[in-house]
């Protein structure tokens, strides 16, 4: 099945009424997804930043900068950087919220969290950052805790995305905002084809060469195609209770930033 056919899949929310879900193009038991995704990220954690720069030609830095600019963050804010991985967003939020603020870097994967913690400490960012190993579906925080929650390139790996969105909604303060930065569906057919070719032919080889793990990058390409498109994700956010939801396509829709508020 081609990638574009996959995009037409009736079940694009990554979960089915039965007890199965997607792991890339494979249909697996929901219970298995967490450990399978964990396997991918344990494998790529150390090379994650290098691969991000290589795969996106450094553009991921601009996507993340765009997310910061859209966050409306202020000094004193409490921010949850969910699936924060190696802490790119956390580093910037930490500087902007200041001593009175706090940033929680949360990730389900201990390897990613360790790499992120080491990186941030090496940069001298220690005073207002906490690290929490957490599943986005069951966030271990009290209701109405955060001013801002971000999840960058993480939602597509979550087994039950609806449940994760509801969990995020719960921990956001009234007036708080959620920002979801995630791969999405390119707006132009030509770009879509070039992107498919790059994702399925070049990306896994790059992964094999640099991270010595082509399979994980094959999963990355497949998981992107199985992720809900812009409108579907917006509807999912609406269903979870978010208001004034909107999205902005970046790089022709290769990536989209979704925004929603809790009032």
């Amino acid at each position: 099945m081609s990638a574009s056919e996959q995009n037409q899949s009736p079940d694009k929310q990554g979960s089915s009424p039965d007890n199965t879900t997607h792991f890339g193009y494979k249909t697996i038991d929901k219970e298995d997804k967490v450990s399978m995704v964990a396997g991918v990220f344990h494998s790529v954690a150390k090379q994650y930043d290098v691969m991000n720069d290589l795969m996106s030609f450094g553009v991921h830095r601009l996507w993340k900068r765009f997310t910061i600019d859209a966050s409306g963050v202020r000094p004193g804010n409490k921010v949850l950087d969910l699936a924060g991985g190696t802490g790119d967003l956390t580093a910037k939020f930490s500087k902007l919220v200041g001593k009175e603020g706090k940033v929680i870097l949360a990730d389900i994967n201990s390897s990613m969290l360790n790499v992120g913690r080491d990186k941030l400490r090496d940069k001298g960012l220690v005073q207002n950052i906490e690290y929490v190993q957490a599943n986005a579906q069951y966030l271990p925080f009290e209701d109405n805790t955060f001013d801002i929650v971000t999840i960058a390139f993480g939602l597509r790996n979550v087994t039950d995305k609806d449940m994760a969105l509801r969990s995020i909604y719960r921990v956001l303060k009234p007036g708080g905002r959620l920002l979801v930065l995630e791969f999405s569906k390119p707006e132009y057919e030509l770009l879509n084809k070039a992107y498919d070719f790059y994702s399925f032919n070049i990306l896994p080889k790059m992964g094999e060469l640099v991270a010595k793990d082509g399979d994980s990058y094959q999963y990355l390409a497949e998981s992107i195609r199985m992720h809900p498109d812009q409108e579907t994700l917006k509807m999912m956010m609406d269903d979870a209770g978010f208001e004034q939801t909107s999205f902005k396509n970046l790089t022709g829709g290769v990536v989209a930033l979704h925004k929603g508020y809790k009032f």
Partner: protein, 206 residues
């Protein structure tokens, strides 16, 4: 994402420049302070926030406007004059600059810019060596002299044009007037032709 490209480049440039400055820049006073600059030429604001880091305070450049201590609305040309701290009030009086918020924050940012002291020659020598740096600097000076000469020449030519030659140039109204006169003469010639034709006819009939 043009704004992100610009803020990213500016952030790198500012922090590199601050790191290279020989004199101590008093960024500590500005920790967690934000200066927002709204330039007429840009459709997005530029916010400069001094962040507290363990090694050195750093400046983050964003387009965030939710929290700012001081906002300056101006143009790129005026921004150059802003480097001198004492210029701020004069520029406000000249309506070249609109400032809201804490003026001290703007003054402190201007003071940091004013006190930057970078030995570019020695920095370059660390990367490419003393002799190439010396040669490059000499070349730079020669190019700079020539550029200055060319700029002065263009300025002088422009003045010459404005003072002398512009006076000799025919204005639009003069061209219109001349055209009108030509039309009138043409009309008179036509009338004369008709009259001559009539006279010839009359003579022929007689």
């Amino acid at each position: 994402m043009i704004s992100q490209v610009l803020t990213s480049a500016l952030e790198v440039l500012i922090n590199k420049t601050l790191a290279l400055s020989a004199t101590h820049t008093s960024l500590e006073k500005l920790t967690q302070k934000t200066l927002t600059v709204e330039l007429e030429e840009l459709y997005f604001p530029l916010s400069f926030t001094v962040c507290n880091a363990i090694k050195n305070p750093q400046v983050m450049v964003t387009t965030l406007t939710e929290h700012t201590d001081c906002t300056i609305k101006t143009s790129i040309n005026t921004l150059r004059e802003l480097k001198a701290e004492q210029q701020i009030t004069a520029l406000i009086k000249q309506n070249k600059l609109d400032l809201t918020g804490d003026i001290k924050v703007a003054q402190q940012f201007a003071s940091v810019a004013e006190n930057l002291d970078i030995d570019w020659q020695s920095e370059l020598a660390n990367h490419i060596g003393d002799i190439p740096t010396h040669k490059l600097m000499q070349l730079g000076k020669r190019v700079s002299t020539k550029v200055d000469f060319a700029a002065n020449q263009i300025k002088a030519d422009a003045s010459e044009y404005v003072v002398h030659e512009k006076r000799l140039v025919v204005t639009r109204s003069q061209v219109d007037q001349f055209s009108q006169q030509v039309l009138e003469v043409s009309k008179q010639v036509d009338e004369l032709n008709q009259r001559v034709a009539q006279l010839i006819n009359r003579k022929a009939n007689n």
